[in-house]
């Protein structure tokens, strides 16, 4: 008997049945509660949640304002961008020392490992927790938000959701869209030594979200 067959047989024996019984009854309905929160309040909550974690939130009045903020923030530091159209639309690629990451994984990884900042957009943001939701795609690579010490995300306001419940109602099966969905909630951190908080372990130690 294969390991698969044997394990399934053991399970059924332990549960007191001989064969597969098909889709089981009695699965409790999922608990999805989406509150009605006005945009201004969502922005406030997102900002408060992320700043509590030492992330920074900037509310940009326009795409130009977003670009200017990024320019001031980089202040000469080098950066790699994702392929997200919104990043280009904000004009970030016109800034000095900012390079497009492109779609070739090896050179991209090289840039991410050596440059100071990674600039991305985000598919969604969650106001309850101050999280970015990043789906891996031809626009967003996994490494841009992960390897550089600074992560900057430019997010249009209409992508700001209330929280997990709303996200999972929009994407009930996220793997239909992507092989990798990541929630990023603040800078990378650890408290493994004496419970003392240290930021920037393996991921970015600094995170800025520009709500446009």
């Amino acid at each position: 008997m294969s390991a698969r067959e044997e394990i399934l047989t053991r399970i059924r024996a332990s549960l007191g049945r001989a064969n597969s019984t098909g889709a089981p009854a009695g699965l409790p309905p999922s608990r999805i509660v989406i509150p009605d929160v006005p945009l201004e309040r969502r922005i406030e909550k997102f900002t408060a949640a992320l700043e509590k974690l030492n992330g920074k939130v900037h509310r940009a009045s326009s795409r130009d304002d977003a670009r200017d903020y990024v320019e001031r923030l980089l202040h000469g530091r080098t950066a790699v961008t994702s392929n997200a159209p919104f990043v280009a639309e904000c004009g970030v690629l016109t800034l000095p020392n900012v390079k497009p990451g492109g779609s070739d994984p090896l050179p991209l990884r090289g840039m991410c490992a050596t440059l100071d900042a990674g600039i991305t957009s985000a598919d969604y943001a969650l106001s309850d927790t101050g999280s970015l939701v990043m789906l891996s795609s031809n626009e967003e690579a996994r490494m841009v938000s992960l390897l550089p010490p600074l992560h900057v995300a430019l997010v249009p306001l209409d992508r700001l959701l209330t929280g997990l419940d709303e996200l999972y109602s929009i994407l009930p099966v996220p793997s239909d869209r992507t092989s990798s969905m990541v929630f990023i909630t603040g800078p990378s951190r650890t408290a493994d030594i004496e419970q003392i908080l240290v930021r920037g372990v393996h991921g970015p130690g600094e995170i800025h979200v520009v709500l446009v």
Binding site: A3, I7, L8, R10, I11, R12, A13, S14, L15, S20, P24, L27, P28, S30, R31, I32, V33, A49, L53, S103, L108, R109, D128, T129, S131, S136, S137, N138, A141, R142, M143, L146, L164, Y168, S169, L171, P172, V173, S175, T178, S179, S180, V182, F183, T185, G186, S188, R189, T190, A191, D192, I193, E194, Q195, I196, V198, G200, V201, H202, G203
Partner: protein, 479 residues
């Protein structure tokens, strides 16, 4: 039948620095949890626990169905599913795949399931370099130790211990600040991530309807382990399953809050199969190892089956007054604290460490905080009954059995009970209410001496409650 590790426990208890480390770390985690679940921080946390319990119960009661659904969905997204009956099969799979694919270096993110099967030791023995990348786990790997706590593995190490370990093993300049130490680890491990061929992760959840695994972490090492190398293997116990991605709206809300008091951990990854056409990066191959290793045996017992609901948040450890005294390494297995005390005997057989389920005052603090509402004291009580039963069969534990038989005999005979009480009073005619610090030689039985090692013993009352009661009734009857 291993005895109580009396000396090891004693040495933990008498180590003031260690006691302080355990106590203050767990206190901080308790405090953070309390804030994170307060009504002003989250709506209806208790309702979420009830839902989490109901979902887990359903998933475990229908484990076969959801595992097959998971498998189908992983395969549909280009991943492979490997079923392993036991630790040996899981280890063999990793070794064989590594050889086939020419893997020289493996990076690993934190996983209790791989600790459970001693994966690192076996891989190293097979000539493959394997590097733990969670900071706490990395420190312990360098020190050749097992995790002290499910979510805070190096809880027992001070920054000075870490400084010693880093200078000795990495030959780096001594630094004593956690900030600098973290930078040392980042530098060393970044190089490993970039050059590793294979990444091994665990899985906090397996999602049946999505064919996905979920990884919850703060450092970014699980993201790197699952994204940088060309091959990913996720090793998970088969009880980690939940039916729907939507159930994460419940589980993610309770997990982080219970573990570290975080509404969400810094990174939550929802991963399904390898990198897809059009995606820029990610692994080329994705394997999900579904491991039994004793889990189906737990499933058979309807009362104790709930032990499989555990989502490894560690809250029961933080709140357990016994864990907070004896720490993690005095438990016989990698799973410590209350959850360890109920699952270890069910994995290894109740007679291997028959003392373990008795190492509890049954205070119930664990089940009060458990995010999936496992009734840990109830399972402990049932295990205790199983152990006495097993001992009876083996003819062990004679003295205790006799004592409880005598107890039962006397307690069913009120007259005898009264006489026994009167006799006890007559043994200490002169105590006059003072508590006793020692006893006549004849009464120096091990349980009595255990009590007296830390406490005085109450003297038997000079007059029994019954005698006082009768007198009271007579006095009233005179009216």
């Amino acid at each position: 039948m291993n005895p109580i590790p009396v000396d090891a426990i004693k040495s933990t208890l008498s180590d003031a620095r260690l006691q302080n480390a355990i106590y203050s770390s767990t206190a901080r985690l308790m405090d953070k949890r309390a804030h994170a679940i307060a009504p002003d921080a989250i709506d209806d946390f208790q309702g979420l626990r009830t839902q989490a319990n109901a979902i887990k119960r359903h998933a475990i009661d229908n484990l076969d169905y959801y595992l097959e659904q998971l498998e189908q969905n992983v395969i549909a997204r280009g991943g492979k599913v490997v079923w392993c009956r036991d630790a040996g099969e899981a280890i063999q799979f990793v070794l064989q795949l590594s050889r086939e694919k020419g893997v020289k270096r493996i990076v690993k993110s934190k996983s209790m399931t791989t600790e459970e099967i001693d994966l690192n030791e076996h891989l190293e023995h097979g000539g493959i370099e394997v590097v733990e990348t969670d900071l706490g786990e990395y420190i312990l790997q360098l020190a050749h130790e097992k995790p002290y706590h499910i979510v805070a593995p190096a809880l027992h190490k001070t920054r000075y211990d870490v400084a010693d370990i880093f200078t000795e093993t990495l030959k780096v300049e001594r630094v004593e600040e956690p900030e600098q130490q973290t930078q040392v680890a980042r530098r060393v491990l970044r190089e490993k991530f970039i050059t590793a061929d294979l990444g091994i992760t665990g899985a906090n959840f397996l999602i049946a309807d999505s064919g996905a695994i979920v990884l919850v972490e703060n450092e970014g090492n699980a993201r790197l382990s699952s994204s940088a190398p060309r091959i990913q293997i996720a090793i998970a116990g088969l009880e980690k399953i939940i039916p729907r991605a939507q159930d994460l709206a419940t589980f993610l809300k309770v997990l982080g809050r219970s573990a570290t008091g975080q509404p969400l951990t810094v990174y939550t990854s929802f991963l399904s199969g390898p990198r897809r056409p059009g995606e820029i990066d990610g692994p080329e191959e994705f394997y999900l190892v579904l491991m039994d290793n004793g889990r189906t045996r737990l499933l058979a017992d309807e009362g104790k089956r709930q032990s499989l609901y555990c989502i490894r948040c560690g809250a029961c450890l933080n709140h357990c007054p016994v864990y907070r005294k004896i720490g993690g390494h005095n438990y016989p297995w990698v799973y410590s604290g209350p959850i360890g005390a109920i699952i270890s005997p069910q994995f290894h057989g109740v007679t291997q460490d028959p003392w373990l389920p008795f190492a509890s005052s049954l205070c119930g603090a664990c089940s009060e905080v458990c995010p999936v509402k496992i009734d840990i004291p109830q399972v402990l009580l049932e295990l205790r009954a199983d152990i006495t039963h097993a001992k009876r069969k083996e003819g062990a534990g004679q003295w205790e059995r006799r004592a409880f038989r005598l107890f039962s005999y006397v307690m069913r005979r009120p007259r005898l009970y009264e006489m026994a009480a009167a006799m006890a009073s007559s043994v200490f005619p002169g105590s006059r209410g003072a508590w006793l610090r020692s006893l006549p030689r004849l009464l120096r039985l091990p349980p009595v001496m255990g009590w007296l090692s830390h406490r005085d013993l109450p003297p038997p009352p000079e007059r029994s409650f019954r005698a006082l009661w009768r007198e009271r009734q007579r006095a009233k009857g005179g009216n």
